[in-house]
């Protein structure tokens, strides 16, 4: 059985397939505001490339936000459709937690616009600062106070450098610390602005 991994909570579209704890293959590229058109075709391509069918899908892991309003809903909606149709478990992962680096405390950042950021701080599976929305000036202050923390995310809007991270690898890592959703269809996207 294989695991499907989906993330469209930010500018990127990421689709992956994993077997056990190993990510077999993934497609990831910038598709801002176009993820809804691309996600299913990309998943289809990936499955065909590795000669898998829908019957090989054992579970689904999806990034549930925070992030882009539409983006967080695209991956989650597609994930729900798959788990409903195949009757398989769904795992929901924080989009920020999925941006952590391995074995390093990480500040994960997403542009929430209007001079605000989504921020979460993590060390592996541990949460140091839980996902929240924060004014950019406070974010910069927090970063200054914690020079030992690494930074990930598309941080050009803050004019600070950030490390690259393979989000799907981290989602797969986090799965082992999570329980599948009890009611997959009831899981809601995390937007934090509501």
């Amino acid at each position: 059985m294989i695991t499907i991994l989906l993330d469209s909570s930010n500018r990127y579209l990421s689709v992956g397939i994993a077997k056990g704890e190993k990510l077999i293959d993934q497609t990831s590229y910038e598709a801002w505001q176009r993820q809804s058109e691309m996600m299913i075709p990309e998943l289809d391509k990936l499955l065909k490339k590795h000669h898998f069918t829908k019957d090989d899908i054992g579970d689904v892991i999806v990034a549930i936000g925070p992030g882009s309003y539409t983006g967080v809903r695209i991956a989650l909606t597609i994930a729900k459709v798959i788990v409903l149709a195949l009757n398989v478990p769904l795992y929901g992962v924080s989009s920020l937690h999925a941006m952590k680096l391995q074995n390093k405390p990480t500040i994960a950042l997403i542009n929430a616009r209007s001079n605000r950021s989504y921020i979460g701080v993590f060390e592996n599976e541990k949460v140091i600062l839980k996902d929240q929305i924060m004014k950019n000036e406070d974010v910069l202050e927090y970063i200054k106070k914690h020079p030992e923390y690494e930074i990930t995310g598309e941080t050009e809007y803050l004019e600070i450098p950030a490390k690259q991270v393979n989000v799907l690898e981290e989602m797969l890592f986090l799965k082992s610390f999570l329980k599948p959703c009890e009611n997959s269809l009831a899981i809601k996207p995390v937007y934090l602005k509501d």
């Binding site: 505001q33 176009r34 309003y69 616009r113």
Partner: protein, 154 residues
Amino acid sequence: MKLVILTKSKEETMKLGEKLAQGLFLKAVITLSGDLGAGKTTLVAGVAKGLKIEEIVTSPTFNILKCYFHKPLSLFHIDAYRLDGVNKDIGLEEFIDGDGVTMIEWPNYIEEMIPLDFLEVIIRNLGNDKRELTFISHGVKHDQLLSFLGENKI
């Protein structure tokens, strides 16, 4: 800054939109006010043409947002009319502060999402196909846009 332009036909209003498009830039925001049939969508159609967008522009009243993805500038056309009194948190700010130009009909319903730097357009129907278009710029970037339009109008 303020500029008033009279157009005598739908075609002239379109042409004015095309001219306006030549001065547009990333994250430009234009609000459109005027009664039903004033020509708001016509001006948007002119801007779309000026941006070399080939799709047909129709009113987004039902959809709230229509996206015309294009390079170098995409056009986002919002009609906020149906957002009166309902949850406005549907991610519109990601388009307004996004990868293109946004034109907003009924901006009073999403006032809190309009940036400080924007161009206000008020269209008045003077009968038949005659229209009076009042452009008021707010902020430096849209002042420049309006100067450009003033120098390049029909």
